[in-house]
Amino acid sequence: MKKILAIVLCAMMVLAAVACTGTASQQPAKFKAGFICLHDENSTYDLNFINAAKAACEKLGIDYVLKVNVPEGQECYDTACDMADSGCSIIFADSFGHEDYMIQAAKKYPNVQFCHSTGTKAHTEGLSNYHNAFAAIYEGRYLAGIAAGMKLNEMIAEGKFTAEEAKIGYVGAFTYAEVVSGYTSFFLGARSVCPTATMDVTFTGSWYDETAEKEGAQKLIDGGCKLISQHADSMGAPTACENAGVPDVSYNGSTLSVAPNTYIISSRIDWEPYYEYAITACMNGKAFDTDWTGTIATGSVKLTDLNTNVAAAGTQEAIDAAKAAMEAGTLHVFDTSTWQLKGETLTSYLADVDSDDAYTPDTEVISDGYFHESEYRSAPYFDSNLTIDGINLLDTAF
């Protein structure tokens, strides 16, 4: 046994020696950014980040490191610190569960900028080198909802079903504010053109579960839903729609390839403008927003690939008109005159904007006749207490 141990130790010493000699070459320091992703490019969610990261770094001509499959645990902290050790001046992470570990790393490396997409804590954490970012994706959802409403109207006009039967189905991940804000704005967009529309929502309890998403969509279709949309990252719902011949409004990017006969349009966040903004500020040594919200105007909210074979006639024009009204400030997605809660129009709502363990509502978010989404922090706070009339949650286990 001793001999074996001796050999093992010798082998380890040799390995260590090789490791040391391998690191000799040193190049002059170039600006370097780090990117941490929860999954790899097989997830539509992460692919959206990876593409933006590559595009921004190539445009700015900087070095970058990209780490995929980093779980939402201690490994995120270790990876972020490791990137800081290796000379990254700015480090991005893409998944909600990375946030606590990014904050820890930010405390450890005060001279490195840490940026976390979809997080909620930067505006209360008080760290000058920790940032959150999100986009006003509810605007994109609303516009995609218009395409859905137009399609419903077309099917009603064709006599496929009556106006009262115009029910939408929605596959969500969790009853999390980001999802609630997404399906509510989508529904409001649809109802703005198809006033009799209603919507059933089901939750899968996972951000990525192809089987559950497919089954969820099928359940909604069996329950009489005439059109499907989703907030979950797999091809599950689009595939179920294609099999059943039910139109689908997608998310995170085009799903035209798997559903050429049913895919209508998709909304997504383009992270490239944020990456460019943050990296450029960091390169110039300037402070940048603690909490940044991208909009249609910054190019962060995008609609992709309107499928004219499936979409109703005039969809593009209707979307363009609504988009112009949004940019002009005359159209607000969460205009309180367009929705009610248990038959009442809200004039006041305290949202949980500042994170705490007890979810204490702390900020008044309704004023000037609309709900101010993503203004008091970038991450959505239109939460699950606001199930507006017309939307029916089939299950709320998650």
Binding site: K67, E72, G73, C81, S86, Q104, D357, D383
Partner: protein, 365 residues
């Protein structure tokens, strides 16, 4: 005479001298590296030496990387140690994943539910430890009890217990989620650091590494020199012999599985209390199954497992480094790992058996 002659025949060999054994193993590793090099050049066009160099850098490149390597090594080694006594007894416990998971769950449960009632860090840590050990032990006890009482199949039983543990954790994660609807609980007690194990000499991972080091030595002694260890070995060789020798087999099975489960619980405690400070369903991340391989490769010898678990951690971390440095998909790194493991496991065949090529010129008799 038209009967076909076999080209070679295979026979079991006796014990080889250790030098020869390690020469075979060394040759296998070299061959594996060679095949990987050819594969790398063919598939990616990269210089294989640059790829190997990057692997070493990913594992030992900086002080932080080295600490992470040893922390991961400690966790995998710890779980491998946990499954070993049961394996020696020929009790096929593939439930380590679930046993670690319930240990983590119990630890997180104490940290979350008692944080408003207990302010003493020491008391908190003691309660966490007790809860984790008990939960892991229970997860080991159940299949052992059913096995000894009704002779149920322990492989299926322990496998299914994994899913129960993971689903239970998923349920409690939703129950304790923060913020509401997010489906995750974040870092537990982030501001108070209540129930966090202390950093020794400013190194967060030193304490778990030391605990596992002690455990390795203790388990080596337990298996090799204690009466219990002897009983385990006898039961593993032959249950009938054990009964004839007056060993209470049922008791040995239950006692050993409770020990296995409790060690898994301890790893769960270290994962939540010392490193991750959170609970996710992927916290154990398949290491409960990898541990089976580690234990087998080391022939159930706790000291040998230091080497085999190091090998697997090295491959895993090195693979991650290759994937990000060369912008390869992580699947390519998995392929390299697969090739290397194939050779390492395959070479055991040549250690246990010999192949004799039969000469063709033996015509007639």
């Amino acid at each position: 005479m038209n009967s076909k002659k076999a080209l070679f025949h295979i026979s079991k060999r006796g014990e080889l001298p250790w030098l020869k054994v390690w020469l075979i193993r060394g040759a296998a590793i070299l061959l594996a590296l060679l095949v990987c090099s050819v594969l790398t050049v063919l598939v990616t066009g990269l210089n294989p030496f640059a790829v190997y160099g990057t692997m070493f850098k990913g594992v030992f490149g900086t002080a932080r990387k080295t600490w992470v390597t040893f922390q991961k090594l400690a966790v995998l080694l710890g779980i491998s140690l946990a499954v070993t006594p049961a394996f020696k007894m020929r009790f096929w416990n593939i439930g380590a994943e679930g046993q670690v998971m319930v240990g983590s769950l119990a630890c997180a449960a104490v940290m979350i539910t008692l944080r408003n009632y207990i302010s003493s860090n020491l008391l908190m840590i003691v309660l966490m430890l007790v809860a984790s050990l008990a939960a892991g032990a229970l997860w080991g006890f159940l299949p052992a009890f059913f096995k000894s009482r009704w002779n149920t199949n322990e492989t299926l039983f322990t496998l299914m217990m994994n899913y129960i543990a993971i689903q239970l954790s998923a349920f409690f994660i939703i129950l304790w989620e923060n913020p509401k609807g997010a489906g995750q609980i974040g870092i537990i007690n982030a501001s108070s650091e209540l129930g966090w194990l202390p950093s020794l000499f400013g190194q967060q991972y030193l304490l778990p590494i030391l605990v596992i080091a002690l455990l390795t030595v203790a388990l080596y002694i337990y298996l090799k020199y204690s009466k219990h260890g002897y009983e385990i070995a006898v039961v593993g060789e032959s249950e009938r012999t054990a009964r004839y020798a007056g060993i209470k087999v049922e008791r040995v099975i239950i006692r050993t599985m409770v020990l296995s489960g409790a060690i898994c619980g301890l790893i769960g405690f270290l994962l939540v209390g010392a490193t991750d400070h959170t609970l996710t369903t992927t916290l154990v991340g398949g290491r409960g199954f990898t541990a089976v391989m580690v234990s087998w490769l080391a022939k159930f010898n706790p000291l040998g497992m230091i080497f085999t678990s190091f090998l697997l951690v090295f491959l895993q971390l090195g693979a991650k480094e290759i994937a990000s440095t060369f912008f390869l998909n992580e699947s390519f790194a998995d392929i390299l790992t697969g090739v290397i493991l194939f050779f390492i496991i395959g070479c055991e065949f040549f250690i246990n058996y010999k192949i004799e090529f039969l000469k063709n010129d033996r015509k007639g008799a």
